[in-house]
Every structure is written in C-alpha cells, then in structure tokens.
Amino acid sequence: MKFGVVVFPGSNCDADCFNAVKAVLDQPVEYIWHKSNSVEGFDCIILPGGFSYGDYLRAGAIARFSPVMEAVIEFAHRGGLVIGICNGFQVLLEAGLLPGAMRRNDSLQFICDDTYLKVENADTAFTALWQPGQVIKIPVAHGDGNYYCDENTLKELQQNNQVVFRYCSPAGEVTAQANPNGSIDNIAGVCNKQGNVLGMMPHPERCAEKILGNDDGAMLFKSILAAWQRRVK
C-alpha cells in the first residue's frame, strides 16, 4: 500500500507522518509537493499538520487552492482514502471535503497537550482496529481547533455516524471540561458520509511508537492498512 504525504509551504508534521508510515507499517511512502497536479499511484493521501501558507487569511484557506488539492479532491470523490491531521483537517474543511469550519480556540491560547479521545465510530477505514467507545490518548497542538458547524449539519453528522472522535475525560466521559478548544459537541474528528475522508485535530503520528512514550496513534495507521488489504482482496 502506497502512502503519499502532501507537503505545503509551511507544513511541519510531514516528516512525522512519513516516519509513522515507515515505522508502524513499513509500507512505501513518498512526499507529494503541493505543486504536483497528480496523486496517481497512491492508495492513501495524508495532509499533515503545520501552518500551510503561514495560516494567512484563515488556516488552510490558501493551501486549499494548491494545484495538488484538485487531484486530492478528485481522488477523494473516487473513494480514495484521505486523512487530514490538524492543519490537514483545516485544509479538508476549506476544500469542502468535510463539513464545518474551524474557529480560534475558545481560550484564545495555542494548546499543546495530551487529550483523551473516545472512538465514537470504529467502523471507518481509519479506526476499525479500535473498539467502539475505546478511550485513547493523542496529543493536540493547535490554535484554531474549535470545530463549528450549524445545527442541521451537526444533526446530519450525528445521524450518519460521522463524528469519529470526541474529546473526553481519561474515564471516557464526554464533558465540557474535557473539551480543550470549545469544539461543538466535543468533536475532535469527523469523516465524510462515505467514510473515506477523515479530518482530526489530534496528532496520531506523534504517538505512533513506543519510543515516543505513547503508541496509541499506531492503531490508526494499522487500521488504514487493514482496510486497504480488505479492499484489495
């Protein structure tokens, strides 16, 4: 299974994502420069975290018009697996591949900390190896992670099981206190209706190996490979 990590000017988690694929899955992985207009030959596209275009205008707003994004959008519409992490999530929102938008954190602070997440949907290609409702620990690092969508969209997300991760307490309670940034409904990650596009603010690539002190994030990468292997069969 071949992974592609998109590199925008200002991406800064690209090497971490690249390394996670190598270290956890030992699968082929390549960087894709944002000026490329093709994602031909890739089986999963990762939009990494960082500050593409310095977050000018809005986080992800300018990256969304990079040449590579047209190919990524087309790839996603054909059912290709796309995951956006942190800034990558913001790019997916701006590109319209996922519903909603990001606001400044309600504390107005940049938050760099471990968060606990409840796996609300363990039926996606990105989460299938977790148990439904399982609590995992994944770090966040963002200033604009306050997820917003209107009421109708939220209802739709809930009805279609598109809320994939919610911020929770270590015991798994989804409370306002466990919400680091003010996100509506404690949302930490959502997928599209088809389930092949995931956006999440927490960074699984930063906790994918034991040597990093936490390997909860490894399961996400393993799930992707397992889903792809099932598909190919």
Partner: protein, 82 residues
C-alpha cells in the same frame, strides 16, 4: 480602477472568542456600556475592472471563494472609484 474595502466578521450566530475576550477586557477597564465586540479582518483590494458592476461581481465572487468562509463568516464591502 476601483478600490474595494472588504470587511469580514464571524456570523452573528457564531460565537466569536476574540470578540468576547475584548468585550470582557473593555468591561474590566470600566467601559461597561459596551454590549458586544466582533473581531474581523479588513482587506483593501484594487480591482482593475471595466465598470462598477463588473468590479462588484468580481469582489462578491472572490469573497465567496476565498476571502471569507461562508460557513462561519459574513462579508460586506464598499467600492470606490480611484
């Protein structure tokens, strides 16, 4: 040549964390009559267009596609000939 002065703010239905913080700060300073603050962006765009209508249409288009995010933001603009 036209100049568009574009104002972008979070929609009224969307809580504005920066605006709330500024409101609280103003209250703490004694400006208790301040009811609400919305923080936004201000852009000045020079448009080389054949006429006012064409310029307006283009500014609307740019606002919808890139300059504002219609999910959470509203925009208004003034257009002056320069």
């Amino acid at each position: 040549m036209y100049q568009a002065k574009i104002y972008i703010t979070l929609r009224q239905s969307v809580l504005d964390p920066q605006g709330s913080a500024v409101t609280r700060s103003l209250h703490a300073m004694g400006y208790e009559n301040i009811k609400d603050v919305r923080v936004g962006r201000y852009l000045v765009v020079e448009v080389d267009a054949a006429g006012r209508e064409a310029a307006e249409e283009q500014v609307h288009d740019m606002c919808k596609k890139l300059l504002a995010n219609p999910v959470i933001e509203d925009y208004t603009f003034e257009l002056v000939e320069v």
